[in-house]
């Protein structure tokens, strides 16, 4: 009898649990992705290990809608950007969905549709508002954000906890050794930790948009900006000169690898994982890689801190989002919109977040932190909390079509100052002159 009552109770509990679980599950799967039997959706997607995991969900969408997805191109973003520009030039827009990015989007003119007119407001309301706003170009929502990027500090905890380091730092600077709160303090610590060739204070992206972006962050943190409201370049202001001087100082002190002027993100990430950098201002996508003993010598020994502030007491966080867009020329916009909404739905966003990327849906942000905490992965939970703090102050690069072109005249000049070929003022004045010409030619300068 007791056994029977126990069995009944167990059965009842199980049924109750199932009843609770079913609606929650149903809420995620109930979404109607539409039916497009026999239709082949052509897409151009960003390639690379960290981006392609999401594409394993594509068969789910195909099954739900009856459509097929044909990936006609899968390349890194710079190559994809080049290919898209060639498509525009040749008028061969034969595809429907393209990977996009907030930095690239303004260049493409009217290639992509305004998604705010075709995606329900209730769905859009589920995205982080600032991230969605940054996805607009001239008030048109041309892309649906997939993951957001902003940089914060990764540091080797052992170096900060080392008693000898603490003592020497206190003697030298009169303050306790702790992760830097300002860029001045950051510079001080970069130089303090450097013991080349085995350990450098840090490394920075020294070419392409990476260099311009890092410079822009400090300019903004110092209270300056890249352009004024009339689109006059103003990055050669005192805030800009001080920002460039920051790079020059750590380079001259030999506290960064000399080759950093040729480094891009991979070189820096690999160097930090190899334990040759004390501190690294870097993207969230590296978090899991750095903490994986298979890929990193510093796994389990990493501290996280919010990016420093500049002389204006502000954080100049350079943010941007990877995203998806739908072309105007698409022959089945409904299917394309359904596809990109699917690739940015709650499940997709959770998948991205579990891999260490910052999701663009508000709910996924909170839920993934809970999930990491539940799994005792405090490192990843801390990462999300730390990175979330910096998102509020983060800003995208200027959202004008000329941004990449302007960036391409800035970074060679920054390099010239860093390697001692020009003074920071000379370099920035030259870059500002060239940037002004670009804005004038484009008819943007008011």
């Amino acid at each position: 009898m007791t056994i029977a009552r126990g069995f009944k109770a167990a059965l009842f509990s199980c049924a109750a649990l199932c009843a609770l679980a079913i609606p929650a599950h149903a809420e995620d799967t109930q979404y109607d992705w539409g039916k497009f039997p026999g239709y082949t959706l052509k897409v151009k997607l960003i390639g690379g290990t960290q981006y392609e995991k999401l594409y394993t969900r594509i068969p789910e969408w195909e099954k739900a809608t009856g459509a097929k997805v044909e990936i006609v191109s899968s390349k890194n973003h710079f190559e994809l950007d080049r290919e898209i520009k060639q498509d525009i030039a040749s008028g061969a827009i034969t595809w429907c969905v393209g990977s996009n990015h907030t930095s690239f989007a303004p260049q493409y003119g009217d290639l992509y549709i305004d998604l705010s007119k075709v995606i329900p407001a209730t769905t859009l309301a589920e995205f982080v508002p600032g991230t969605l706003k940054s996805a607009e170009v001239d008030g048109r929502l041309v892309q649906l954000p997939r993951v957001t990027d902003v940089s914060n500090l990764y540091y080797q905890k052992e170096l900060y906890e080392n008693a000898d380091n603490q003592k020497k730092y206190k003697e030298k600077f009169g303050v306790d050794l702790a992760p830097p709160k300002t860029f001045d303090e950051f510079k001080q610590q970069i130089i303090f930790f450097a013991a080349p060739p085995n350990l450098y204070g840090t490394a920075f992206a020294g070419k392409d948009e990476g260099m311009t972006g890092r410079f822009m962050e400090i300019v903004r943190a110092n209270g300056g900006d890249m352009f004024d409201e009339k689109w006059n370049p103003i990055f050669n202001s005192q805030a800009g000169i001080d920002a460039l001087q920051w790079f020059v100082d750590i380079y001259n002190a030999k506290a960064v690898p000399a080759g950093t002027v040729n480094y891009t993100w991979d070189d820096i990430g690999q160097a930090f994982a190899a334990g040759t950098l004390a501190v690294d201002l870097d993207w969230p996508g590296w978090a899991a890689f750095f903490n994986d003993p298979k890929s990193s010598k510093v796994a389990g020994k990493i501290g996280l801190a919010v990016a420093p502030v500049g002389t204006a007491g502000k954080r100049g966080g350079w943010s941007g989002s990877h995203s998806f867009s739908v072309t105007e020329a698409c022959d089945n916009k409904e299917a394309a919109v359904s596809f990109i909404t699917f690739l940015t739905d709650y499940e997709s966003e959770m998948m991205e977040a579990r891999a260490g990327n910052l999701p663009t849906r508000t709910k996924a942000f909170a839920d993934v932190v809970e999930e990491f905490k539940k799994n005792n992965n405090t490192y990843m939970a801390d990462m999300f909390s730390t990175w979330e703090q910096s998102l509020a102050e983060a800003r995208t690069p200027p959202l004008v079509p000329q941004w990449i072109e302007v960036s391409n005249v800035i970074w060679p000049e920054l390099q010239a100052a860093i390697v001692g070929q020009k003074t920071p003022k000379e370099a920035l004045d030259t870059a500002a002159g060239k940037a002004k010409q670009i804005m004038e030619d484009a008819g943007v300068l008011k």
Binding site: K85, Y108, E405, P412, Q415
Partner: protein, 300 residues
């Protein structure tokens, strides 16, 4: 149809498909790109194809110091690379020509660098010359020669040296194989006659082998001078023209302006100015080739 074939001669008709194809794939793109060099054509703004700006692009190029640095650097790069490749290729060809057993194996091994894509060569040499984890710096430090980290790809001289090394490594076999073909086709009688007459090895090489090889050398030079732009991929990977434009060659500059900045009108204007360089090199080598052939004829 009959009147058409009657009006045009058979040779013309037979050559017509070739003319049409050449016009479609070479002439039309050339004329089109020349036209765009006088416009404000931007890849992402198809309408800009009709924005005529006259000589503005060319005027800007002539006052653009960065362009002329890249132009000058490309000339120097071409000159040094081609000469080094020639000297090394000739040396290798002469050595291989003397091998009696296993020559085929050595010939095949010699061609290995040609089998790599320039992108892979770029990555390979970027790693070799990396200042932090690179092979060369590690070797120097491990052998105790120096504790200093040499920033190979940063310093203007060493960065250009590194690129030149990669280019020479990749392309010397082209010279070697062409010159080896020349050596193998060379008649042995004049050499033997010279030796009988008491000429030493240097005299044989200077007065018999080298004049005979000159046409091969100039053909190899002409081919390589046009083909050397393949180095774009390599430079793109190793330094992308940087730092601070220290390794900027015409190809990296053109690709950035044309594709990244999407200023195709300006990039085409730059191409037309730099095409003069290709024409000059080709003309120079073909003139030399004609002279070498003439002198070879008079020798015979």
């Amino acid at each position: 149809m009959q009147s058409f074939t009657r009006r045009f001669s058979p040779p013309f008709l037979l050559l017509l498909p070739a003319f049409v194809i050449i016009a479609a794939v070479i002439l039309i793109p050339l004329v089109f790109s020349l036209y765009t060099s006088f416009t404000n054509y931007r890849l992402v703004q198809p309408a800009s194809l009709w924005q005529w700006v006259g000589l503005r692009n060319y005027q800007r190029i002539f006052s653009d110091i960065d362009f002329w640095w890249a132009f000058g650097r490309t000339v120097v790069f071409l000159t040094i690379a081609l000469n080094l490749e020639l000297v090394l290729g000739l040396g290798i060809a002469l050595l291989i020509d003397r091998i009696t057993t296993g020559q085929r194996v050595i010939r095949t091994i010699m061609m290995f660098p040609m089998m790599f894509s320039p992108i892979l060569v770029g990555f390979q040499f970027k790693y070799i010359f990396n200042d932090n984890v690179g092979l060369i710096n590690n070797a120097i430090q491990s052998l105790g020669w120096s504790n200093v980290t040499i920033p190979w790809l940063v310093n203007g001289w060493t960065a250009n040296f590194a690129i030149l090394t990669a280019e020479v490594w990749m392309s010397t076999p082209v010279f070697a194989i062409l010159l080896l073909a020349g050596l193998m086709a060379m008649p042995r009688d004049p050499i033997e006659a010279a030796k009988v007459d008491g000429c030493n090895s240097w005299q044989v090489f200077r007065h018999i082998t080298l004049p005979f090889l000159l046409p091969f050398i100039y053909i190899a030079m002409a081919i390589r001078s046009l083909d050397v732009a393949r180095a774009y991929d390599m430079v793109k990977i190793m330094t992308n023209g940087g730092p601070a434009g220290r390794t900027e060659l015409l190809w990296t500059l053109l690709a950035r302006v044309g594709y990244q900045d999407a200023r195709m009108g300006m990039a085409n204007a730059m191409s037309y100015v730099s095409i003069l360089l290709s024409i000059y090199f080709t003309y120079y080598f073909f003139r030399k080739l004609a002279t070498a052939r003439a002198s070879l004829g008079s020798m015979a």
